[in-house]
Symmetry: none
Subunit: 404 residues, 2 copies
């Protein structure tokens, strides 16, 4: 991004504190019966009071029309270009179940699959075996295979037929081909190096698959082999603290968001199960950090379920909880979502996300409700999500003048 050319020279440290509240999947679409969106229907005096006090707008997560996954959507909010910094599928799978990942590690998405004796793929999902069965197999595999050619292999159940695998060792490379033929009725492929540097990794992985195929026939399961794809290492992202001179804390409950925060170098607070835990942590840790990322998951989950009532209830629950932080002094507070998740579409969407920034160092507007259509008329206009972080820094007076 363009701002990276000048940021380093203008960012400065001060005492001011920033709170970034991400209500996951915040934006929605109208219920066909009422003509009102989830946000337009929910009763949320506290959230609306922030909209009234602050400046409002809409935020485009990636580009107009583009529906982002959680990874790119969060990178944008954290001020990094999500197209320049693409996070591999393997990395997201590993982060999503809370595995720790270090530089040099290679993350992989795996599927249990069924093959015949000629190694032709019969079922790419091993008849979607139950998660419990997956767990048992993984326990057996992990007990037998710990290490191949000096590379440590860590295997974890995701759910049903899905696995996450982490390779830990020296000289590993993600530039290897998949063994998944993509279609049933085709033979399993050999994993081959796509770059010179990946010869060793391909050897490790081919031996891993061989070992798995020796062990599985001895178990009562449709899983006969393992399909491997999404090989990826940790993306090269400048850490938050170095980039913004902030000491950041991640106040999230779900592994995926903790993982994403860790990717950008935030300190992740563990053991936060409920929104009450999160609000308490925010109070307890108030003095220890100067940037807080607070993630609320339920709005997205309800949207994915297509459940209007549940999403409205999730908004109203959060509205009640957030009142507890009104007495904490954040020089700048932002409430937004990483993307929209309209109940009507039962999934993430491309629609710009409501956004409010409360700061005494900017002009407020006459928007007094945190809704899609009200925020569209706000003074911030419709902006790129990647701009938000810089507006927060500016409002916290942490950006010096550019040029003389």
């Amino acid at each position: 991004m363009k701002i990276e050319k000048i940021l380093n020279g203008i960012v400065k440290k001060n005492e001011n504190k920033i709170l970034l509240v991400v209500m996951d999947g915040l934006g929605g679409l109208p219920d066909p019966e009422t003509g009102k969106t989830e946000l337009e229907t929910a009763v949320k005096p506290n959230l609306d009071s922030f909209a009234k006090a602050g400046m409002c707008g809409l935020s485009i997560p990636v580009l107009p029309g583009i529906t982002p996954g959680s990874g790119p959507a969060h990178l944008s909010l954290f001020g990094y270009d999500p197209i320049e910094h693409q996070i591999g599928r393997g990395v997201l799978e590993v982060l999503g179940i809370g595995m720790e990942m270090k530089k040099q590690d290679i993350a992989i998405r795996g599927n249990f699959a069924t093959i015949d004796k000629n190694r032709t793929v019969i079922d790419r999902r091993a008849k979607r075996l139950p998660t419990e069965e997956n767990r048992k197999i993984v326990e057996k595999l992990q007990g037998t295979i710990e290490n191949i050619k000096n590379t440590e292999i860590i295997i974890r159940t995701v759910k049903e037929h899905r696995l996450a695998i982490l390779l830990k060792g020296d000289n590993l490379s993600p530039y290897v081909s998949e063994n998944d033929p993509q279609k049933e009725g085709l033979p399993l492929k050999k994993i081959i190096p796509l770059k010179e540097e990946a010869v060793y990794t391909a050897e490790v992985l081919n031996e891993f698959v061989e070992r798995v195929e020796e062990i599985l026939p001895g178990m009562d399961t449709n899983a006969k082999t393992i399909l491997l794809r999404g090989f990826s290492g940790i993306p090269d992202i400048e850490p938050f603290e170095k980039r913004y001179l902030l000491k950041p804390a991640c106040i999230a409950g779900y592994p995926m968001y903790k993982g994403l925060a860790k990717l950008v170098g935030m300190e992740v607070i563990d053991g936060l199960e409920t929104i009450d835990d999160q609000i308490q942590a925010l109070k307890d840790l108030y003095s220890d950090y100067d940037f807080f990322y607070l993630h609320y998951k339920k709005t997205d989950s309800a949207g994915e379920d297509g459940d209007f009532k549940k999403k409205i209830a999730a908004i109203e629950e959060f509205d009640e909880k957030i009142s507890a932080i009104k007495h904490l002094k954040f020089e700048v507070m932002c409430i937004t979502g990483d993307h929209s998740t309209p109940c009507l579409l039962k999934g993430h969407s491309w629609h710009p996300v409501p956004l409010v920034i409360v700061s005494k160092n900017s002009l407020s507007d006459d928007v007094d409700r945190l809704t899609e259509r009200a925020c569209a008329k706000g003074i911030l206009g419709t902006i790129q999500a990647t701009s938000i972080m810089y507006l927060l820094l500016a409002n916290a007076l942490k950006l010096e003048k550019f040029g003389a």
Copy 2:
């Protein structure tokens, strides 16, 4: 553009149909007497009903302040960056008169000019000879010169002193210099190759000019030679169907717009003389395509003439005609212009263009009129014209999630 880095991985085919209506030169400026723009004055219940049903905004054709020609303005609407993909002047001249152009062909703009016996240019426009005279000379030239050094030469009248020339053959290159000295009183220049690969093309062109100068003195005309410029080949543009997985039809009457549609790989429906023909074609071909580009010319022509009444009449005529398609089911329909053509300026302008998108998969706003000032308050805000195509795809649910 950035989106090109991810588009290929997320675009998908489905049954939904998209209609893009381009009212050429749509936006305007106020009549000094009434203080109202053409769109604010016209009575157009159908267009306003689309504005009411849909989401509104303004679109910037190229960049703020930049007045585009039809070429760049249309490339933007089709989702291609008009600065990255510049279309040569020769190509536009050739497309504008409906000539067919293939890969490897070189298009050229030509002028008839008057020279003296030392080949000094006396009049760069040969006293703007009448179009009829131009036609007679072209007929004679084309009858005599068909082929030079195995390159086919196609010569066509544009109007007055202007010509379009197409070279068809192997090993042609546009990298040659002009023979036009740009100023009268200077000698005609020799065409020289600007790259090694263009040696042959320069030879062909110099011989062409020589042959023309042998033939013209035998005719009763001020045209004594031909000035050649704007040498250009077809730009390398990823075809619409491959890029968007759409089957597109161009429903336009004028050669220029048919040519531009052909450049991006649309199927061009021929023989459409009137807007009635166009509307009928849209109905007849409804089942055969999933993307329709409907072009309406009269709004622009009236703007170029500076004729308020005529532009208002053009808007009202289209408003009446468009009602006939209301029963056709387009999941997504967009009405906009390629650029503004205010009567006040008698030409294209840089002003953002009114835009409405009708889709059940997005939030409508409270704008209920298709005018410049009403659309400026719409929920879409002011966006780049290049974003429109991606919003149409998103609303037609043709874009999958980016990242996990």
